[in-house]
Amino acid sequence: MTSRTRSVDHFLPLTPPVLHTLVALADGDKHGYAILKEIARRTAGDVRLSAGTLYALVKRATADGLIVESDERPDPALDDERRRYYRLTPLGRRVAAAEIARLESIVEMARAKNLVRRRGLA
């Protein structure tokens, strides 16, 4: 068990593009362009990845076992032979969750010191 924990910690901290990508894949398999669009939409355009960055991180995350290429094509009508879909692995899910928890603890700490306020309560 400890070895698994260590293997999750080993990936932390994640760079924002990696974390965003893992989060984008949390609710279902997506192809590259869909990942980019999702990230841009969720961050209101603050985070815009380019193709080079995206596929370099896809390559690394695949090699690390955080994501895999999925063989299922969710929507055959829209499918294109050039598109590959990516899926979050259980390890990827744990790593993403661990990173979020890490960030949360930092946010908690900041709140305790009144560095930031809870949104909506101010």
Binding site: Y33, S50, G52, L54, Y55, R82
Partner: protein
């Protein structure tokens, strides 16, 4: 969308993606194109050209950020793989690294020397503008410097040069309050530092316009190195006074650390204004600065911006022609030479000669690097053949061939870099040794070239390593790419590429064996000469003699004072316990600076001008022949009668006596030397005076008291080991006259070993022995690589033969035969080559025949044994082949 032909933008993006590594492109290229197409589509729908432009800009920037990272990642991976592979084959790795280290060392060593003498810009303002000016007259073979008067005339030309500066390195005696020391000074024109743009580290430097006449401004600027070593970097030194050649000077400043003077060979300890040259040299009569025939100065000029070298030459030719008209006696038939400063190192006289030697050395070094690279190719090919199956397997498992090739090149690159890592410290040590060698030659001048490795050399090393790594790795990489996977898997990895080059490979090894044999033979002959050196008849007995040199003339002592000094020192030294005899000589045998004179016997008419006989000449005190053990053949030695009041006398050697009075006695004859007529009172045995290999030459000795030299060396025959006496002798001389510096205090044996006498044999034996040894190492690695490859190609054949009943001994014999044959051809060629070369060097061989059978036989046997050993290792491996496995591989 599928099947749609790519648009022009698609093709543009695809071209952009080519900066990614091949594998990455193959894995994700199509998806990236699709993603980018989608992004463009989306932006286009918004209809904003600015947004489209931003997308292109950001995507392009992203590609150029990410692609290098991908390349680096692959490189790291390949280096890791290469290191693991090399660790598994340590013998191969060591052989390859060593081989490359030898090749790279040779190139780096030569480049370091070339850098110091031809490339490294002076650490001054805009060094590229500096030009060297020198003159050549019709009678002299090499260019020489300018007189101060000429320099002033060229300075007044003014159109092409901002200004011209002149300097002259001169020995001097410095006394800064802690005893006297012999140093080398730079005597510089007042504008020296300002024109170069050198700023002081401390105090101030010599100002332009500082001093306008002889004897003006007795100021001294210390060189940074000297200030550090002799004054411990004491900042309080500025303003202190010091004595130079007995004259009072004020220390005004220290040069910066980076500035080591403008002479590539001689390192000066300080700088004084040129106006002081007459005072320091105790010139009587016409100032050196006024004499147009005193070509004392090395001259540099700074070109005006925008003026070309050709324009400068043309303008100065006019001045030169004017000078020839105005001063025909000194300037007629004199050509002015203007070349970039870097072309005139270490001085204009030997600069051009040096360049030719440097190019030759560079060519040899590159040749050596090519040979070592070829050896590494052999090693890599031998291993690639052995790894054929691994590579084929990886290839079959999906590794792309380009990727495999890239990885093999990375591996040889790693080898080359490790080879360089070995080479650099070796070269640093070798260059230090060379600097030492220069420094120990003599104290006449401080010879100390700066042979340090700078960024330029390290950059060049890296370049050489990368090129040789890629070149060596290319052949096996191509082998891996071209090899047919199926065929390789079937034959078990013994492909055929490279087999057609077997002949070339053999020739390469033959050449290496031949060259290393040549070098070893020459080295051996030098070593044998050195061994004979003890037995050679020098005409005197060097053992048990200590030498110490002094230069009272430099302190301005007149002849009477000098004679008193010499006599005083001699009397006190002889009274020291452990001293048997002591005597002065104006220059000891094999000195770098020596005297010759024109002379003829009084009873024979002087022959036409230019053909007057010449002989060496030296002044000695009466006990010299006894102290040096020079046998008197006839007549008498000098004694106390032979002083200024006595009749002028001379003692000649046998060669001179034979030359002038063949078959008759020389005693009682008279010699004319310049305006003097000397009675010959004795004849001594011949000796060697300048070089060990010189033909017997005439020598005339005169009594010190009748012709008092400015500088002289005392030869002390001791009853104790002479080296034990050096400090007491130094002290004794200092007590006689504290302001006269004593230098080059050393035993006669040391002096002979490091000076003109035997240094060349030691250096020759060392250099050729070293390179010969390296050559043998290279040749044996080359032979090993060749035989290993040969064996790897024939594993199956050996298996079959063993299956058919051949024993291990038969296989080993077959392989050894091949290696032995190659070595034998190399040995025969090497013997012929060495014989030819030794013939050319026969002058330098002492009492050793250039065909000395012992040397040749020893080296040949050594090389054949090493060759057989190099072949034996792979031969033994051939016998470990399991016949069944070898057969099954089919």
């Amino acid at each position: 969308m599928p099947g749609r032909p790519p648009s022009r933008t698609d093709r543009l993006f695809r071209a952009l993606l080519r900066v990614f590594p091949f594998d990455f492109r193959a894995d994700y290229g199509r998806e990236m194109e699709q993603t980018f197409r989608d992004q463009r589509h989306e932006v286009r729908q918004e209809g904003s050209m600015a947004a489209l432009a931003r997308l292109w800009f950001e995507t392009t920037r992203d590609v150029f950020t990410m692609a290098p990272r991908e390349h680096l990642a692959i490189f790291q991976q390949d280096v890791g793989y290469a290191l693991r592979t090399l660790r598994r084959t340590p013998v191969f790795a060591a052989a390859a690294i060593l081989t490359l280290a030898i090749g790279v060392s040779a190139v780096v060593a030569v480049f370091t020397i070339v850098n110091a003498f031809m490339l490294r810009p002076l650490p001054v303002d805009r060094p590229a503008e500096l030009m060297s000016l020198s003159t050549r007259d019709r009678h002299a073979a090499v260019p020489h410097g300018l007189s101060f008067a000429d320099l002033q005339d060229y300075r007044s030309e003014g159109a092409v040069f901002t200004d011209l500066l002149g300097y002259a390195p001169r020995p001097a005696v410095l006394d800064a309050g802690r005893g006297v020391e012999r140093v080398t000074l730079g005597m510089v024109t007042d504008n020296y530092f300002s024109l170069l743009g050198v700023q002081p580290a401390l105090g101030r430097l010599i100002h332009p316009e500082e001093g306008r006449a002889r004897g003006d401004v007795p100021v001294l600027v210390l060189a940074h190195d000297y200030w550090r070593s002799q004054f411990g970097g004491d900042p309080e030194v500025v303003g202190r006074s010091a004595r130079l050649n007995g004259r009072q000077f004020t220390i005004i400043g220290v040069t910066p650390l980076s500035f080591k003077g403008t002479d590539a060979l001689i390192r000066v300890s300080g700088y004084v204004p040129l106006w002081m040259i007459d005072d320091l040299m105790y010139t009587s009569g016409t100032s050196i600065l006024e004499r147009r025939d005193a070509h004392q100065l090395t001259v540099l000029g700074r070109l005006k911006p925008g003026v070309s070298l050709a324009q400068a030459r043309a303008a100065l030719q006019i001045t030169s022609a004017d000078l020839a008209r105005q001063h025909p006696s000194t300037n007629k038939d004199v050509t002015l030479l203007v070349v970039p400063e870097t072309h005139a190192r270490p001085n204009p006289g030997i600069g051009p000669f040096f360049r030719v030697i440097a190019i030759g050395m560079a060519a040899l070094a590159i040749l050596l690097l090519l040979i070592t690279s070829a050896n590494v190719v052999n090693l890599l090919l031998a291993r690639a053949a052995g790894r054929g199956r691994e590579i084929a397997l990886r290839s079959a498992l999906g590794a792309r061939r380009g990727r495999l090739a890239r990885q093999l090149v990375t591996e040889s690159l790693a080898l080359a870099l490790m080879g360089s890592a070995v080479a650099v410290p070796v070269v640093v040590l070798a260059m230090r040794g060379l600097e030492q060698f220069f420094a120990q030659m003599t104290s006449i001048a401080n010879f100390r070239p700066d042979l340090s490795l700078d960024l330029r050399v390290l950059g060049a090393t890296l370049g050489v390593a990368i090129v040789s790594g890629i070149v060596s790795g290319l052949a096996p990489a191509l082998y891996a790419v071209r090899a047919d996977v199926n065929a390789l898997l079937k034959t078990g990895g013994r492909g055929t590429p490279g087999e057609s080059r077997g002949g070339l490979r053999g020739a390469l090894v033959v050449a290496q064996v031949a060259l290393s044999l040549t070098l070893l033979v020459i080295g051996g002959l030098f070593a044998r000469s050195l061994a004979r050196a003890d037995d050679i008849d020098l005409g005197f007995q060097p053992e048990g003699v200590l030498l110490a040199s002094t230069d009272p003339g430099m302190q301005g002592y007149d002849p009477a004072q000098r004679l008193a000094f010499y006599r005083n020192v001699r009397d006190r030294v002889v009274a020291l316990p452990g001293v048997e005899l002591a005597a002065w000589i104006s220059w000891p045998p094999f000195a770098i600076v020596y005297d010759t004179t024109n002379l003829y016997p009084e009873d024979q008419l002087p022959v036409a001008d230019g053909e007057t006989p010449q002989a060496f000449t030296a002044q000695i005190s009466p006990e010299y022949f006894a102290a040096a053990r020079v046998p008197l053949v006839e007549g008498r030695a000098f004694d106390d009668r032979d002083d200024a009041d006595g009749a002028p006398v001379a003692i000649v050697n046998q060669t001179l006596a034979r030359q002038f009075w063949p078959g008759r006695t020389a005693i009682g004859r008279r010699l004319r030397i310049e305006s003097d007529t000397l009675d010959v009172v004795g004849v001594v045995r011949d000796g060697k005076y300048n070089f060990v290999w010189e033909a017997p030459s005439g020598m005339v000795f005169r009594p010190l008291a009748q012709d008092i030299p400015s500088a002289a060396t005392i030869a002390i025959r001791t009853t104790r080991p002479p080296s034990d006496m050096s400090s007491v002798v130094r002290d004794t001389i200092r007590r006689v006259q504290p302001d006269v510096a004593t230098y080059d205090v050393r035993t006669m044996r040391d002096y002979l070993d490091s000076g003109n006498a035997f240094a060349i044999f030691r250096l020759g034996a060392l250099v050729t022995g070293l390179f010969g040894g390296l050559g043998v190492l290279l040749a044996s690695i080359g032979l090993y690589g060749m035989i290993a490859y040969h064996v790897s190609q024939r594993t199956q054949e050996f298996g079959v033969r063993m299956a058919l009943g051949a024993g291990a001994a038969d296989i080993i014999r077959a392989v050894l035969m091949r290696g032995g044959c190659v070595a034998l051809i190399g040995v025969v060629m090497g013997v012929l080559l060495a014989g030819g070369l030794a013939q050319l060097l026969r002058t330098f061989l002492l009492d050793v025949s250039p065909f000395d059978p012992l040397t040749y036989a020893a080296v040949a046997v050594l090389l054949i044994l090493i060759s057989l050993l190099a072949s034996f290792v792979p031969a033994r491996r051939a016998t470990t082949v399991d016949p069944l496995a070898a057969l099954r591989a089919d």
